[in-house]
Amino acid sequence: MTLLYFAWLRQKIGKSMEEITPPPGIATVKDLIAHLQTLSPAHAEAFADHSRIRAAVNQHHAGLDAKIAAGDEIAFFPPVTGG
């Protein structure tokens, strides 16, 4: 599973990308966030406030309940501010 981080999430976590193999039972974006919070203090801080985080699964916007699977590209980022 490829994880991508953007904007202040990238800065807090200290990298723009990481490959992980989540433990069994991680079925949704929400499950994945809970798992990521256990990886490091930086991850814990970055993911502390769910309301400030948005996700995309395979380059489509996805809610917290979206299903995820091995091989997916999951991106986390703040609400967008382009335009």
Binding site: L4, F6, A7, W8, A56, Q59, H60, H61, A75, F77, P78, P79, V80, T81, G82, G83
Partner: protein, 148 residues
């Protein structure tokens, strides 16, 4: 519908972009929008980050939606990335149609969804202090009105 989506650091040429949308001669109306970096007190640069590939894919989805709602002959979306000084142009959305109402509505629709769906993030540098621009809740309301 002729679609042209570009994510680039470079400035764009509005004359050339509008000409490209109308060269086939089937569009009498082009509605355009440009977004600009405002000159504000100590703002020295605005830096735009994006999610390569998803940005293009998401904008393509939005353009397809616009094309299914209105009779459009062409859509051009150019969004700049990287560091931009105050006064710089950030984005161009230009929509060509036979009908000006369709062009105006589709252009506004695309801007509203670009603001809420296209994965770009702005970081401001104010006198050496950097901070990420907060998402504007009013933009969600603007996008929501198209659901009806």
């Amino acid at each position: 519908m002729k679609t042209r989506i570009r994510i680039q650091p470079e400035e764009f040429d509005m004359n050339a972009e509008i000409a490209a949308l109308t060269e086939s001669g089937d569009a009498g109306a082009v509605a355009s929008f440009t977004g600009h970096v405002r000159k504000e007190g100590d703002l020295s640069t605005l830096t735009l980050e994006h999610y390569p590939h998803m940005t293009e894919a998401e904008i393509e989805r939005l353009v397809r939606q616009a094309g299914s709602r209105w009779p459009l002959t062409g859509v051009t979306v150019i969004h700049r990335i990287g560091s931009l000084p105050p006064g710089a142009r950030i984005v161009l959305v230009a929509v060509a149609s036979e009908h000006r109402q369709a062009a105006f509505q589709a252009c506004e629709f695309l801007m509203d969804f670009l603001k809420t769906h296209a994965p770009f993030w702005k970081e401001e540098d104010r006198g050496g202090k950097k901070h990420w621009v907060e998402h504007h809740a009013g933009d969600d309301d603007a996008a929501r009105r198209w659901k009806k």
